[in-house]
Assembly symmetry: C2
Amino acid sequence: MSKRYLRSIRLLSECMQLFEQASNRNVRQFGCTPAQFDIIATLGNTPGMTCKELGEKTLITKGTLTGVLDRMEQKGLVQRERGDGDRRQLFVKLTPQGEATFSEIFPKVVHAGEQRFSGYTDSDYCDLEQALSKLKKHLNEN
Amino acid sequence: MSKRYLRSIRLLSECMQLFEQASNRNVRQFGCTPAQFDIIATLGNTPGMTCKELGEKTLITKGTLTGVLDRMEQKGLVQRERGDGDRRQLFVKLTPQGEATFSEIFPKVVHAGEQRFSGYTDSDYCDLEQALSKLKKHLNEN
DNA sequence: TATTGTTATACTCTATAACTATA
DNA sequence: TATAGTTATAGAGTATAACAATA
């Protein structure tokens, strides 16, 4: 019987869409596409990382990543550097301007999102985290 | 303190991505894009609906929807009809071929997704549904 | 005047595969 | 041979605004 499964998946997808729709609109108002914001948020507060690592964290495939990074480089948000070790790897990091964008936008986006959780109690968070942690573990294993 | 919020949102997004990545790959193997599958799944087992209604259910904006429906019409999956009532509205429904595609693909996609929940107990489902229902309600209200 | 859906524009993401350069 | 990243290609989704037909 797949009713139970469908109900859960539908709920998961509805929650994600409800959240993302508002969040994406918010991000775009700051002049970033969702993918670009994802990269800024991933690179923020790090010394940078290889394209491979960045692709794995953001789930953007390498061919796509090149294009996204090209546009961000044009906007002066990221820079690519050949590292000292393996000369096939490119090291991607935020430029000073990228850092500034991160510092300015990230807290605002987080704050706007957090507003939607106002009234969520400790135990609400706890239940949600537990249920989602279990789901994540399960999805990773199956 | 936004740590709690960030942790929950990160988990939500990770679960969704883990699930969607596999599901989208699966859907594409059947020759549909995720958006097209979304529309087929929404129209399946219904007499059809207006573009407006379809857009609301799938969260595809009207300008985009026209393009998606164009491609699906070309593939012979959907048809658009001017209704009897309000003559501004277009009624969208699956063609017989669209119905056949729905009947063939939908169960397979559901089944493949359900596989990843094998081992999920009744109480696991229960916890997940409760946590997500509460979240959905909350997101809708704030 | 407001609403339904289309058109037009410009951009962005996507999958995929072939390619370059290193290893 | 394998890996990191780019290039090339074709298609698809996105936001946005202007528009036609109808209400």
